[in-house]
């Protein structure tokens, strides 16, 4: 277990390094020159050159990357070009919002997806099953912005049940979390259903039935735990995706998350922030996978010894 953990950490570090390198190269290949942008319209070429020098942009790419890595190892994500302040606190300040949204979104996905998936598997090929599966496809086929705008318009603007925008209370969380949750639940329902059907056909479920256990006990105690592994893996993936990928939802609901920060930074070619956000998202993805790897053995003892 400890060895596995260690290996995963080395793996994670290597992956992050790779992500850092690729992002770095891509960003510095961008045609936009941050110094020009920062210097503004009144700047003389001298000013632009000065700023470029101050930012270290006049050094060879390899040197810049090396400096970046050295700082990174010390936990320093650099300073924002545009805001002239350290990147780490900027990201840290937005982390709680992103994490809250992520947790709530995943919770909704899992609750809805798990329930529907199990029900569909038990009613396999019946009307309920078909309805649930078709609905789940509608869920995964709907553009995020459509749902976001619709929920906003109906439940906030028209009905006024929830605040339209902002962050802080549970009421603010409801709509953005549901937007993420409704859309993701479709995938969960499908995965759970498929896993459940698989598990329900397993010998040990037959054994459980042969023991004369009640149906709920067979489903909840024997089948469901065995069907949870793919769900754990999906949660791991979602942890990663939601950290970097909720730009649309955050934009619509004014949610002060990392996605917004990233989007603004991209508009302004604020490379240190883009790098920081990319790395944080990559870290989240790696941590998400790690989470899946660490939780899976709790559910499945067979993985524990491996």
């Amino acid at each position: 277990m400890a060895a596995l953990f260690l290996r995963r950490i080395v793996q994670a570090a290597l992956i992050l390094l790779g992500v850092a390198a690729i992002t770095f190269l891509m960003l510095y290949a961008l045609p936009a020159d941050p110094a020009v942008l920062l210097a503004g319209r009144n700047a003389t070429p001298q000013t632009v050159a000065n700023i470029r020098h101050q930012l270290g942009l006049d050094q060879p790419l390899a040197v810049q990357f090396w400096h970046y890595l050295v700082d990174l190892v010390q936990g320093d994500l650099g300073r924002s070009f545009n805001q002239k302040t350290a990147v780490a606190p900027l990201i840290a300040a937005r982390l709680p919002a992103t994490l809250t949204l992520m947790a709530a979104g995943i919770a909704i996905e899992v609750v809805i997806g798990l329930t529907l998936g199990v029900v569909a598997a038990l009613r396999r090929d019946g009307f309920v099953d078909r309805a649930v599966m078709t609905m789940s496809f509608v869920g995964v086929s709907t553009p995020q912005f459509l749902v976001a705008l619709l929920l906003l318009y109906v439940f906030a603007a028209t009905l006024g049940w929830f605040p339209m925008s902002g962050y802080g209370t549970a009421a603010h969380l409801v709509l953005p979390a549901f937007t993420l949750g409704i859309l993701g639940a479709g995938w969960y329902a499908r995965v759970v259903r498929s896993a459940m059907i698989d598990v329900l056909g397993q010998d040990y479920v037959r054994t459980a039935n042969a023991k004369g256990l009640s149906a709920p006990r067979v489903v909840l105690r024997h089948a469901l735990p065995n069907a949870l592994l793919p769900v754990i893996a999906m949660i791991g993936i979602d942890i990663g995706q939601f950290m970097g990928g909720t730009v649309v939802v955050e934009a619509v609901y004014g949610w002060p998350g990392i996605g917004q920060l990233a989007w603004q930074a991209i508009q302004q070619v604020d490379i240190p922030i883009i790098m920081g956000v990319t790395l944080v998202s990559a870290l989240a993805i790696v941590l998400g996978n790690l989470f899946a790897d660490l939780v899976a053995p709790l559910i499945d003892p067979r993985i524990r010894t491996a």
Binding site: T207, A210, G212, R221, T305
Partner: protein
């Protein structure tokens, strides 16, 4: 005779198919007396399992349903029982154990919990834990207290089957249904489990329905036997008369096909199946296969860039030679390294040591350099279905080796495939069909035809008949013998079945833990085994003769 505990009367079962219901079980009737062991025997697909599932009312609802008949447990018909009442019967009055001990236990639940749960479902909750431990004790499992807290994957197959038995018997059922309880186990373990069941039957006074395809097991266990074929019972009789004087033809063929250990005692080679004179091997020709000090190490869990964690030695220091026209049998328990040896001599897994094929060392040869040698040696796998590309017609599959070695035109190859099909007793028109359109025995013939296409001198046959029904098995073995006699083939014949080995081999090597523990001519090894392990292997083989039923013995897990 007292009233039967369980009576099945005119049971018919339909399978739902797109083309309407299909009868898969018709008019099956039998009765089980108290304390009796009834064996349901018959070839694969004859309806043994669905009969037992019907009794438990565990038929998959979506595809199978009871069309007619009654199942009476002490006079009460189970067919019409409510689900709730049926739940009390299941695991209470009737318990069941299944073929696959590996998958029949919930992998994510502790052994103890699974046992306790079974006990709680039918009896009070107070002393369930103590009773569970007592049951583990009763099935003679080592260290029962520790087992309670373990997960199924931490137990061996034999132990798991013991747990299953403990679970089944924990509520003292009147009837125990065991569906092929030992098929997945090694012979030695099988012997232990069978003994255990016999002993427990006495202790718990349970009646048993034992389902098996192995007449040896039937002979060892059954009081009475019901022989099934194609969804019907063709003959029911007490064990002794059935074996000595079977009434039905089908029963007779079934019995005739069963290889008996010791049947070839006193002979040197396999029986002759043709009248052709054997080609003499000129002295001085190198052996077809010569192996010296062969070791195979499997890489451990894959590291990050394919690096190795600790390796696992599957085969160690194995040496033997195999002459043209002869058969070397490799026997040994599961995991002893038989298949690995077979693959290594064909260069299919990396190995250390020396392997000479037709006198040429194959170690370190590039795939290109290896190619000509591939024509000399071929392999037949255990599972014929798995070793045929499901998307390739069998004609193409048989011609495949010729195509690989760029031999002849497409038309030539087609002709050759047709000829080979005829050679293995199939019709040339079968060439355009696909593997799934054949029976298991036919598929194995196709594999043999494919192996013959290149006219090899050596065939490695890895458990080539294990998956086949006894009757089919006999025919395939005969075919292999015939080919050996006519073509002078050498076989490296891998099997865990001592009786099959006895029938097929000139020489035998017994493997255990990756090493050859005993080797010699078949006659020497079988008649005067030098090693205790070999003797144990031979003693564990069930003898298809109820008269020679062994004395109950205490088994150690």
């Amino acid at each position: 005779m007292t009233a039967p505990v369980l009576a099945v009367e005119g049971l018919s079962i339909d399978a739902r198919t797109p083309a309407g219901p299909r009868r898969v079980l018709s008019e099956v009737s039998f009765a089980l007396a108290a304390g009796e062991t009834l064996c349901l025997a018959g070839e694969s697909g004859s309806g043994k399992s669905i009969t037992s599932l019907a009794i438990m009312r565990l038929l998959p609802k979506a595809s199978l349903r009871v069309a007619a008949g009654a199942i009476r447990l002490e006079g009460r018909d189970l067919v019409g029982l409510s689900d709730r009442a049926m739940r009390r019967v299941r695991g209470g009055a009737i318990a069941m154990i299944f073929q696959e001990p590996m998958t029949s236990l919930n992998p994510v639940m502790r052994i103890g919990d699974q046992l306790i749960e079974a006990i709680r479902a039918h009896q009070g909750a107070e002393d369930a834990t103590a009773r569970a431990r007592a049951m583990l004790d009763a099935v003679r499992i080592s260290d029962p207290a520790r087992r309670m807290g373990q997960y199924p994957h931490e137990l061996s197959g034999g132990m798991r089957q013991r747990v299953m038995i403990a679970m089944a018997l924990s509520c003292r059922p009147k009837v125990l249904i065991a569906d092929e309880p030992t098929t997945a186990l090694d012979v030695t373990v099988q012997a232990q489990i069978l003994t255990l069941m016999r002993e427990l039957k006495g202790e718990f006074g349970t009646s048993i329905i034992l389902i098996t395809h192995d007449m040896g097991v039937v002979a060892e266990m059954a009081d009475r036997v019901a022989v099934m074929q194609a969804g019907r019972i063709v003959e029911t009789a007490a064990a002794l008369p059935l074996f000595t004087a079977p009434r039905e033809d089908y029963t007779r063929t079934l019995l005739a096909a069963v290889p008996r250990l010791g049947a070839r005692a006193g002979t040197d080679g396999p029986p002759r199946v043709t009248t052709q004179p054997l080609a003499a091997t000129p002295a001085g020709t190198p052996p077809v296969l010569s192996v010296r000090d062969l070791s195979v190490t499997y890489r451990g869990a894959r590291g990050w860039f394919g690096g190795t964690a600790a390796g696992h030695k599957a085969v160690e220091g194995v040496s033997f030679t195999l002459q043209r026209g002869r058969t070397l049998g490799l026997v040994g328990e599961s995991g002893s390294g038989k298949s690995t040896t077979g693959k290594a001599v064909l260069g299919l897994v990396p190995f250390a040591g020396e392997v000479l094929l037709d006198g040429v060392a194959i170690a370190g040869l590039s795939p290109r350099a290896m190619r000509p040698l591939r024509r000399a040696a071929q392999m037949i796998f255990q599972d014929p279905y798995a070793s045929l590309d499901p998307r390739m017609s069998v004609g193409a599959a048989i011609a495949e080796p010729l195509a690989i070695h760029r031999m002849g035109t497409a038309a030539d190859r087609r002709d050759r495939a047709a000829e080979l099909l005829r050679r293995v007793g199939l019709s040339p028109d079968h060439a355009s069909r696909y593997p799934h359109e054949f029976s298991g025995g036919q598929r194995q013939r196709i594999c043999i035809a494919r192996a013959l296409a290149l006219e090899p001198r050596l065939i490695v046959a890895d458990e080539s008949v294990a998956a086949l029904d006894v009757s089919v098995r006999g025919r395939v073995l005969d075919l292999m013998l015939e080919l050996q006699e006519t073509l002078g083939l050498a076989y490296l014949f891998i099997s865990h079945d001592m009786a099959v080995i006895e029938r097929m081999c000139h020489d035998v090597a017994v493997m255990r833990g990756g090493r050859i523990v005993e080797a010699g001519t078949r006659r020497a090894v079988f008649e005067v085994p030098a090693q205790a392990y070999t003797r144990e292997l031979m003693a564990a083989v069930p003898i298809p003769d109820p008269a020679r039923r062994p004395e109950p013995r205490r088994a150690i897990a």
